[in-house]
């Protein structure tokens, strides 16, 4: 079977290839509000939901610092630890990529691959919007009815 071309890959596949190619442990694609869009690699050792929320907050704080020194934003953040390191980069104005890796010597490779695969992720994100078919549309009125019922069930139990 022919290998899938990068431009035909799902965002998960792109992210998985990035992890393999950069020799990182794992990668996340998150929104600037802190929601995980995709994850790949070995994420079993951490809580990706909480991590996304914290990194989004961290990135926002850094953006404010950037503004203080006359920059619109810093596009890359690097956190160096003793055994594990994190490379965070902006993919679009509203999404960022988080790569966790162990060997600091591969930092150059991580940066390069982040940039290369970042372009495919941008293409993937815009394709996702473009290819949204009617069946994907959220049935709003039905959605609201079910959601309101669920909210009653969840928040009424144990009420004081």
């Amino acid at each position: 079977m022919e290998p899938t071309a990068l431009e035909d890959m799902t965002m998960h596949q792109v992210l998985a290839n990035l992890v393999e190619d950069s020799r990182a442990m794992m990668a996340l694609l998150i929104t600037k509000e802190g929601t995980v869009i995709e994850e790949a690699g070995d994420t079993s050792m951490l809580n990706t939901t909480a991590m996304a929320a914290l990194i989004a907050g961290m990135f926002s704080a850094t953006r404010e610092v950037a503004r203080m020194v006359g920059e619109k934003q810093f596009s890359i953040l690097l956190q160096q630890g003793e055994q594990r390191h994190i490379h965070i980069s902006l993919v679009t104005d509203s999404t960022m990529m988080v790569i966790v890796f162990e060997d600091y010597k591969i930092i150059g490779r991580v940066r390069l691959k982040a940039r290369q695969y970042g372009e495919h992720l941008i293409a993937g994100l815009s394709r996702q919007q473009r290819n949204r078919s009617e069946k994907d549309e959220v049935p709003v009125s039905q959605f609201k009815e079910y959601a309101l019922n669920l909210i009653d069930q969840i928040f009424t139990a144990n009420e004081k």
Binding site: T10, M11, T31, K32, E33, G34, T35, I37, E38, N47, T49, A50, A53, L54, G57, S60, A61, E64, Q128, Q129, R132, D136, E137, V138, P139, V140, Q142, F143, K144, Y146, A147, L148, L150, I151, D152, I154, F155, T156, A157, N158, E159, K160
Partner: protein
């Protein structure tokens, strides 16, 4: 506007607890987290200073389950109340779908409540949101104080409506679930594509 992931069929809403320092925002969140069953909630993350007051934010995700083919999640945040954390407070409102304002019913905190509410309105405006149309609930916390301010007094001062106001004693859980229920419903009712 919630984040919708069409590929993975997920919708994420963001709810933020706002208010002056020590008004009980974290207490609200901790109580809600305690009351929910383990299957639908994620870990509660709290980032505290040494004085145990919120420096950055508290957070936990709540999984509402599958609705009309989409996995729905509420991400719940608090903001730091202290005056000197203005920058991080504004940041936490970015992308919010609804805000619960936790006011302190103590008479000596009246001004702080007003100042904090006005700051919240400014913060929302900075994201091009109209605070008067944005889903929000005003919770008067600490109703067990002997000289609690009157319900409605903050709205009169602020010139806002009283439709979504509640009293609470968050340390005892009173009014906490009612507040989040009202907030969640407002957020869902405002949802559109």
């Amino acid at each position: 506007m919630p984040y919708i992931n069409y590929e993975n069929k997920e919708i994420s809403f963001k709810i933020v607890y706002y208010g002056p320092g020590m008004s009980g925002k974290t207490t609200n969140l901790v109580y809600i987290h305690k009351m929910l069953s383990d299957e639908i909630k994620g870990d509660l993350i709290t980032l505290d200073t040494e004085e145990e007051r919120t420096l950055f934010f508290d957070f936990f995700p709540l999984d509402l389950g599958n609705i009309a083919g989409y996995r729905v999640r509420f991400n719940m945040y608090t903001i730091p109340g202290q005056i000197y954390y203005e920058a991080s407070r504004r940041l936490m409102l970015e992308g919010a779908d609804g805000v619960v304002f936790v006011a302190d019913s103590s008479p000596i905190r009246f001004d702080y409540n007003i100042m904090s509410y006005q700051m919240m309105e400014d913060n929302l405006r900075s994201y091009d949101l109209n605070p008067r149309e944005f889903p929000s609930v005003l919770q008067y916390n600490k109703r067990d104080l002997s000289e609690a301010i009157e319900l409605g007094s903050l709205e009169s001062e602020l010139g806002i409506g009283t439709d979504s106001t509640l009293g609470a004693v968050a340390t005892q859980g009173e009014g906490v679930m009612e507040t989040i229920r009202m907030m969640s419903k407002m957020v869902i009712e405002q949802f559109e594509l």
